[in-house]
Symmetry: C2
Subunit: 416 residues, 2 copies
């Protein structure tokens, strides 16, 4: 695909320029994008109507159509998000460490952009500007490939912001939108390892598995969030209930919501009746329980083992009675997704054990898993959450879009 290779080659070339661009310049490009978005709201909304009509004709669900829908307020929100990114500190050029050898050679480890990002995403058109802004601010070139449902919206947004930023001096190829949503093209893109340094997919598990399978480029991803709350025998019961309510009911469709509750057998007879009240009050759709749990809750249905790995994305929960913190940890490490898990206990040693041995990106003591988010973690912005262990783990902000190089300063040193 010579056209695609040409896009990648241009992105690579611009990445070398972007790596050395000043913060002031990068911010100017983002402000130009924000202004252009607002000035061209009508064009964007017209394109969005095409996507909405096609989506309705294709029978997309109400939730899908809502994710796709733009209005003046949402376009304004996209522009404001671009302006907000200009206020964040530039992650490039930070001296991470330095070391001076006895022979005077100075070795500095300095943060630099990764290079060229490939960003593959589904239906929300605002991801187009969110991803572009975070990649640019961190000095990376980005190739955007949105989903077919938002094709017209993404093209309109892409055309507008790219033209505005290039007019403001952004190098050509720094941001590119692939105007082709075929599988062949995305598969070819995922093989461009000569030009692209990192692929970030954002969407459902199916999209992400396909990307991982096809890509010869490193991918940072999370498949799903199977998050656990372990109610220890020394738990404060009202606290555990509040954390459960927050984790399961506040926004059940997100990755840091709870899917499984593990309850120590010594506290179960006190805790389970309170939990049942909460479930009834909040209208939980279903609870799948272990044998022992089912003996304590007449509404529970016996859980098929595979459900312990389920991300319900709904007000459905898996519940299990365990006989120790060790059993809880083993369960989480076996069935969990390495995303976010929490223990409620008054015992600091049990909490320490749990935080050390649970092999997840974020491990909470007496707090809700819902905090796993770049914004909540003080990163300013989030480009995704990684359940991988290499390069970035947990919420990814601007800093996670950088790598480092060593700059070494000598006056003629040679190795003995």
């Amino acid at each position: 695909m010579p056209e695609l290779e040409n896009i990648c080659r241009k992105a690579r070339k611009s990445a070398l320029l972007l790596a050395c661009a000043s913060s002031a310049d990068k911010n100017q490009w983002l402000l130009a994008m924000a202004k252009a978005l607002e000035e061209n709201t009508a064009t964007i909304l017209a394109a969005n109507r095409i996507d909405l009509e096609k989506g309705a004709a294709k029978g997309l669900s109400g939730a899908m159509l809502d994710r796709l829908r733009l209005d003046e307020k949402r376009v304004k929100g996209m522009a404001d998000a671009l302006r907000y990114v200009t206020t964040l500190p530039d992650p490039v050029g930070e001296e991470l460490s330095s070391f001076t050898r006895e022979d005077g050679l100075l070795i500095k480890k300095v943060s630099v952009p990764v290079g060229v990002m490939g960003f593959i995403y589904e239906s929300r058109p605002n991801v187009t500007t969110d991803a572009a802004s975070l990649c640019l601010k961190s000095g990376n070139a980005v190739i955007l490939r949105g989903g077919s449902e938002a094709f017209a919206s993404n093209c309109a947004i892409g055309d507008i912001v790219i033209a505005a930023a290039e007019k403001a001096g952004m190098p050509e190829g720094a941001v590119t939108l692939i105007r082709d949503t075929s599988h062949e093209t995305v598969n070819a893109l995922l093989k461009m390892d000569q030009y692209i340094d990192l692929i970030i997919p954002r969407g459902g598990e199916r999209l992400i598995r396909t990307v991982v399978k096809e890509s010869t480029i490193p991918v940072i991803k999370h498949y799903k969030g199977v998050c656990h709350l372990y109610v220890d025998k020394e738990a404060d019961i009202p606290m555990a209930l509040a954390i459960l309510e927050n984790g399961k009911f506040q926004r059940p469709g997100v990755c840091n919501a709870l899917e499984t509750i593990l309850i120590h057998e010594d506290i179960a007879s006190q805790f389970v009746p309170e939990m049942k009240k909460l479930f009834a009050e909040k209208g939980l759709k279903k609870v799948y329980g272990s044998e022992k749990y089912c003996s304590m809750d007449e509404n529970a249905q016996m859980i098929p083992e595979e459900n312990y790995s389920n991300e319900y994305l709904d007000t459905i929960i898996s519940a299990k009675i365990v006989s120790s913190a060790e059993e809880a940890v083993d369960h989480i490490n076996f069935y969990g997704s390495g995303h976010s898990d929490s223990i409620v206990t008054a015992n600091g040693r049990t909490a320490e054990y749990f935080q050390n041995y649970v092999d997840s990106a974020t491990v909470y003591w007496n707090a809700s898993t819902r905090f796993t988010d770049g914004g909540e973690f003080g990163m300013g912005a989030e480009i995704g959450i990684s359940t991988d262990k290499l390069h970035a783990r947990g919420p990814m902000g601007l800093k996670e879009l950088t790598t480092y190089k060593y700059k070494i300063y000598g006056n003629g040193q040679i190795r003995k």
Copy 2:
């Protein structure tokens, strides 16, 4: 392959224990390994003789046989290297950053081991203990798969050190040696992404390309080191000659040796005659030159373009006359391998430009590329050099074998 899967499962299980092992325990295991190596030198040398005889019968080169050969001094060296690793700081448990939210939630980012390493290497038997020690010290389980040439040596070393460390309390499965050097087994190992977190191959380019192609597990690698020296128009000529001599002749077979020299046209008429003298004196085997270079050196042979990407691993060099620092940078970014490149110049702005725009792991100003090495960089030890950009770039020490997790401390916080 049920047996292989069993090995991987045990490694995964032990990794959870290793992650929380104390520095004192880990050091005890390493000291027990060192002692056992020395006490069993005769057994190791007997096994090594089998490999040497087979190697000689197979017609391995003298250099290959030398890499394979062990003697008392080399075994003592392996034991000393194990003892040395005990003196290095433990990279696990470091608080990398922390953030307290307004609601009092404390978010700590803490270094933790990556988990399970797969280490695939070629003929030097000492890599068995080097890799095991660095993985263990950083709290990782490791599955070792050495080359067939060193099979008997690796098995003897592995048996001795694993038994000694397990006797000293190391969890079973923390270090495993695969006793099967078939391609089928290594290919199956490279698919065990449920159990293994990271593959580090160490050997020739062919081995590494095969590993990358087959692996569904992230790989940190370097294919080759095509390192450049750019002699700027404002270079100090004696300094440039000293750095060239060090880079090309001190150890031409290593990855941080020089392969290409780029010379600014304004200094070429002064520099090239001196360089020719150096080449004659040091017995350079061959110089491949650009057209312009060839017009200045009657010994040079016109360079085929593909040679600019060659890692000669010998006293052979590529030479090119360039008209600017920009041309030098473009050449390096196009033909280089992202490993180590150096500029000699008295002009700080030219050096800064070069260090910013050359997209390599280590970029030197007025110093030899031969310093790219974990030991020389003050890392204490080196497990390899990465020309990848993600997770680790440049020399990799103990710290590069860790990742991080977030430990979060609350008192009932929920997300609003």
